[in-house]
Symmetry: D2
Subunit: 125 residues, 4 copies
């Protein structure tokens, strides 16, 4: 409970439940409106970008090989996932299912045989 | 496969695998560097914010009750999850575990009994 | 007036005034709260990132040489400046002066002779 | 020079020049690619959002009345302006002119008489 159970959640649904309990224990549901959580999500993505912004593409590709940098990147990704999961939960959205549905739609729009190797503006997963 | 299997992934690991196959089928791994994916993640979060920005807090809280707005919000959240999952996969990070570890650390820093109801700058999940 | 005067503003203060008139003419001041404008700013920055995300560093460096891409990048930068100017105006902040004050502080923190050529995490303008 | 001249720039062009000198003095031009600067811009916008995210709309509207919060918001807005100005300069874009051109286009698309008081998704400055 409250994020300190080390056996931990394994699914997004369990993580969402844990975050819900975490917010309730602190009476933070009042702050967790969709707009506020979306802002917090953007804030954490900003911190993630800040870790990578001055690195060359090569340095960024090996970020995880550096324990300090890797640890910071992992922690920022954890923060982003926390707010994304919480936002989806507050809105009643199944996060993995939403991603899967979007991917199905994108796969239809960009058939592999047609777009192979191209990353034109409109062509992206 | 390739995002068009409707039975779909249920775990983040399965979604990550599906996204990997999706990128490989299109030869898009070359574009999926950590920096590029982090930018794409921020871009999708920006689109999510754009859906919510002019709504009152109350309107945003009921966004999912409006089929059109709700559909757009769900699609944007799906996009954000796609890029976050792909970025974590490229970096070799377990997304749910990273979130859980961060939550454990945050829970220790902000014990429920001490911060209840307060959302001072430094106090957030 | 209303953004259609081609002789145009030359200073940020004039742009801010023009944007104020634009919002008043449309009765949009009600939507232009600091939180909403900050979200809109982030949304536009996301669109700017989307234009650059799949480009190589070299392609991005020559973005303006491509009339179509260059036009889109310029338009997105215009959007970002619009919301940043509007947000600063609503908060009563002098944008250029705020940047200058921050730069003065950063210059003190990172004297040229000490940080030349280094872009370690904490070392940035 | 180098950000420590208190008489300070008054125009965006002067700020851009000052930032250029600042980067040259530190040999930081190598890091100031369009992609890196766009990421830094997003990172600073994220920090700005973080200052506002848990506030009620009312609290955010009065942010500048609180010296501490107001000082932080002003500093973050300064940071955003620094990177936006630097990015535009590196790309050879006149920031105020780009904003003005975009506003002219938006004003044409949303005539005041037609959109007054409405902030539907597609209707925004």
């Amino acid at each position: 409970m409250n994020g300190n159970d080390n056996s931990g959640p394994k699914t997004v649904a369990e993580l969402a439940e844990q975050l819900r309990g975490f917010a309730e224990d602190r009476d933070w549901q009042q702050f967790h409106t969709p707009k506020n959580l979306a802002m917090a999500l953007a804030g954490e993505v900003g911190e993630l970008l800040a870790e990578l912004q001055w690195l060359t593409p090569e340095e960024a590709a090996h970020a995880m090989a550096d324990p300090e940098l890797g640890g910071r990147v992992r922690a920022e990704i954890g923060d982003v996932m926390i707010y994304l999961t919480r936002l989806a939960d507050v809105l009643g959205i199944d996060l993995v299912r939403a991603a899967e549905d979007k991917l199905t739609e994108v796969a239809r729009r960009y058939p592999a045989e047609r777009v192979r190797g191209s990353a034109a503006k409109a062509v992206r997963p």
